[in-house]
């Protein structure tokens, strides 16, 4: 990789848990929350980090940000070992934990940003420049002087993102940044992230349950389950391997019985609209459209990919094996 900004080699994190055995006896048992994972992330990319609850996502992020010390393996983030040089690294990264706030509850956003400027020692001119830019893109204007406790979740999240980026971090770690947001706020967050990524080459590592986040933003996906990395690659590749089926939705001029076609089967009919499922490796969409056109008058077509939720569910079920 040309310029890896995150390097993870054979990293593991084991916890000791006490399991109840009988009324009083407790057994100490070691569990691997993260079990020898390895990956690199190129500077300036947006990577999605997926996995079911308890799979090891937040443990990984905590190790990358220096909160937790790994039990084994080697990590480099922005050239630093996070666990040994946590404070130094903190100045080079931004972190948003979706459900907790890094802002001061009683203060207006503007004052929180001002405190952060001092904490991160950002020169005043640079701070103003960044704040103006972010306030513009995220439309913070109407509520920048409102105490944080009075903000809606969506407004607060826009504040959190600004707070995480004001000190020009090389990397931002976002844990569920769109959780609980309405559609408009989600779109604003995604728009903003792709813009700072494009403009400033900020590397973004995003953990999320919202697969639309991933479709819009991420060029690459890491999927973790039971502490192990079970997928590392692009979304398209993932689809090709684990979701080979696509659906062609055709709007015919008038209602018709289910079409009979080679390489595709009708899975649903609703008046003049029919859903045709086909395998991408056997049939191309254009062949299929031509075949439909030969049988009936075609008004409109659309192609639906297998829902990514479904694909991810399938990889989890297969356990990556």
């Amino acid at each position: 990789m040309a310029d890896p900004v995150i390097q993870v080699e054979d990293v593991e994190k084991r916890f000791v848990v006490r399991v109840k055995r009988g009324r009083l006896r407790r057994e100490r048992r070691e569990v691997a929350a993260v079990d020898r994972i390895a990956f690199e992330i190129e500077r300036g990319t947006i990577v999605g980090y997926l996995g079911p609850n308890g799979a090891g996502k937040s443990t990984t992020v905590k190790m990358l940000t220096g909160i937790l010390v790994p039990s084994g393996g080697r990590i480099r983030v922005a050239g630093l070992d996070p666990s040994r040089r946590r404070v130094e690294l903190a100045a080079k990264i931004g972190v948003v934990f979706g459900q907790r706030s890094q802002l001061w509850w009683d203060l207006p956003l503007r004052d929180s940003f001002e405190l952060l400027r001092h904490i991160y020692r950002v020169p005043p001119a640079r701070h103003r420049e960044n704040l103006d830019r972010f306030a513009d893109v995220l439309a913070l204007g109407p509520f920048i002087d409102t105490p944080v406790r009075q903000l809606s979740l969506g407004q607060r999240m826009r504040g959190e993102l600004t707070a995480a980026l004001l000190h020009d971090p090389e990397i931002v770690f976002l844990d569920e940044p769109t959780i609980g947001l309405d559609v408009v706020a989600k779109a604003a967050v995604r728009e903003f992230l792709s813009e700072v990524n494009r403009e400033r080459a900020v590397t973004v590592l995003l953990t999320t349950h919202d697969l639309a986040d991933i479709e819009r933003l991420c060029s690459r996906l890491l999927v973790i389950d039971h502490g192990r990395l079970i997928w590392d690659g692009g979304l398209e590749e993932l689809r090709r391997q684990h979701g080979p089926e696509r659906t062609l939705v055709v709007d015919l001029e008038e209602s018709a019985p289910p079409l009979e076609l080679d390489g595709a089967r009708v899975v649903k009919v609703d008046g003049p609209r029919q859903w045709l499922r086909f395998r991408r490796d056997e049939t191309s969409a254009s062949e299929l459209i031509a075949a439909v056109g030969a049988q009936a008058r075609l008004l409109d077509v659309a192609i639906e990919e297998t829902e990514i939720e479904e694909i991810v569910r399938r990889i989890y079920a297969a356990g990556g094996r």
Partner: protein, 267 residues
């Protein structure tokens, strides 16, 4: 160091400013907390209604102990009283947030609040100390006069160190706050009495383990020029500032160790 001091002032300044927005309510709270803590002192007065002296200490002299210990404790409460909420900071992940900022974690935890209503306790203890100093029949020398503020500053540092060290228990046992309070609030209660009235193990505890005998009792012996009935070395009467620095350094070590434990065991 100076820079960390400045950022500390800025952080608590922000906390204080937001409380000043509700000025009337704040004044009322300060007044209420002053009145409430005054009850502790009333209890001492009631005690002396029944006995003329407590192990050779007059009511004025015990008031001096109470004043020094009370101001120290109230200042400590102002600076680190919110450590009561520290277990919650661990539980809800606020502490993780602290660990990803480029400042020492202890500084951020200490600066996370600054509750102005606690000023009431300080005012109350200052009032008691002034009365005690006037009434206690002290032969003033420069050294004795200097010892009064020195004892208050040392006492504050000692209490602060003890609170911080005890708060780290939360890294192991999240719900240990009642246990911790027994030592912090209990420690304040003990400091207001001459330690000679305690049994030996408790005396040794406050002298050598949780050094709150250095908050008021030992400096007061010097200020009042009282004979030490325990026959401790006289040097201990001047030792409070050193004990204070030592306590804070030990507390910092304990804190750093506890954070290291947290980061390897994992939240």
């Amino acid at each position: 160091m100076a820079e960390l001091g400045r950022i500390y002032l800025r952080l608590i300044g922000a906390r204080a400013r937001s409380q000043l927005e509700y000025r009337a309510s704040l004044v009322l709270q300060i007044f209420a907390s002053a009145l409430l803590t005054l009850l502790d002192f009333v209890m001492i007065l009631v005690l002396f209604e029944n006995v003329p002296e407590l192990d050779g200490w007059t009511v004025q002299q015990v008031a001096l102990l109470y004043g020094i210990a009370g101001i120290s404790f109230a200042l400590t409460d102002l600076i680190v009283g919110h450590l009561d909420l520290f277990p919650q900071m661990i539980r809800d992940g606020t502490f993780d947030q602290i660990l990803v900022r480029p400042l020492p974690s202890l500084l951020q935890v200490v600066a996370s609040d600054f509750s102005l209503r606690r000023i009431g306790k300080i005012l109350q203890a200052v009032a008691v100390l002034i009365v005690a100093l006037a009434a206690a029949d002290i032969e003033w020398t420069l050294g004795r006069a200097a010892m009064v503020p020195l004892a208050v500053v040392s006492g504050t540092l000692i209490y602060t160190g003890v609170w911080i060290a005890l708060a780290t228990i939360a890294f192991w046992i999240v719900d240990a706050i009642e246990f911790v309070n027994a030592f912090t609030y209990g420690g304040n209660f003990l400091s207001a009495y001459p330690i000679t009235i305690f049994g030996r193990w408790l005396r040794n505890l406050v002298l050598f383990v949780i050094p709150i005998a250095f908050v008021a009792y030992l400096p007061a012996l010097y200020i009042l020029d009282k004979p030490d009935e325990l026959g401790l070395p006289e040097a201990l009467q001047y030792a409070s500032p050193f004990v204070a620095v030592l306590t804070v350094l030990v507390a910092r070590l304990v804190w750093e160790n506890a954070v290291r434990h947290y980061r390897s065991a994992g939240g």
